[in-house]
Amino acid sequence: MSSVSVDAWMQEASTVITANAERLTELDSAIGDGDHGTNLTRGFRAVIEALAAAEDELPPGRRLILAGKTLVSKVGGASGPLWGTALRRAGRSVGDAALDGPALADALDAALAGVVELGSAEVGDKTMVDALTPATQALRTAVEAGEPLADAITAAADAAAEGARSTVPLQARKGRASYLGERSIGHEDPGAASTVLIITALGRALEG
């Protein structure tokens, strides 16, 4: 049965975020402070370094927790504590087990719960929660229907993309963009856009 490699996931996430940094920053310039691409690029690069320096035997759950802590300490914007918490909670959920379909479904649930607990955003508030929520649901549905993990991840990534698009007409009610009031309408939320990339990266981190 196939599973996700934490290091490969983080590596793929770093690559795709770096490649899309400019677009993320542009989205954040429209309704925020224009640092989202830089924030996550810096953060995931530091994650890669931290994982490379970690012991090879460190189990998947601990690798995710290390990644989360690194994001918290290296990202000076909201996405640092949010993704940091998401990965730490995912790591605690995974423990020493392999990140196979059911484990990944549980891990994403835990990640989402952590993000919501920390930031109190609901679906429709125009945040990363609008992408992470449908992604999590789609992955669980596909896994429980017995679909191959690769297909489940594709379904999750599609759902995330759909969720990110759905933020365009919304007015932001959480985060910096909420200060803009109605002026936040008409723009895609940068945190939702990066969530699509991070979920998509899962699909390129499959092994076995």
């Binding site: 402070d33 640092d35 918290v72 300490s73 290296k74 000076g76 914007g77 909201a78 640092g80 504590p81 949010l82 940091g84 918490t85 730490r88 920390l118 930031g119 959480k174 985060g175 910096r176 909420s178």
Partner: protein, 127 residues
């Protein structure tokens, strides 16, 4: 004595609040300000926040204030592993709340009372 930590996106705001609150509250209150990212930009720095929390902790509790939502998120994340409730994050106006908190702390009030003073700063008129 209860300590106070001020977390701002701006190093200048954090430093200015500490100077102003220290003038009002006197030299005895442990008062720490942290502002800006590690590279000096506008944002927060979890590492320095953690150090400030430790520096302000005299064993009677620490009240923490942040300027914007993402400062609050960072503080909450830093505090995730603190389960004994020594550190109390309050949702209060950062300048006015920090001054009220510092003055209350200097009067030897308890951490609950200092939290209340900071929160009440939301409704206290300036004149």
């Amino acid at each position: 004595m209860v300590g106070i930590v001020v977390v701002s996106h701006s190093p200048e705001i954090a430093a200015g609040i500490v100077a102003l609150a220290a003038q009002m509250a006197g030299p005895d209150v442990p008062l720490e300000g942290v502002g800006g990212t590690a590279d000096g930009g506008l944002g927060t720095d979890a590492g320095r926040i953690e150090a400030a929390l430790d520096a302000a902790d005299r064993g009677e509790g620490v009240v923490v204030l942040g300027d914007l939502g993402s400062a609050i998120l960072t503080v909450r994340t830093v505090l995730e592993d603190d389960e004994d409730g020594r550190f109390r994050l309050v949702d209060a106006p950062v300048v006015e709340g920090a001054i009220a908190a510092a003055v209350s702390a200097s009067a030897g009030l308890s951490v609950d009372e200092v939290v209340r003073a900071a929160e009440e700063a939301r409704v206290v008129p300036k004149l």
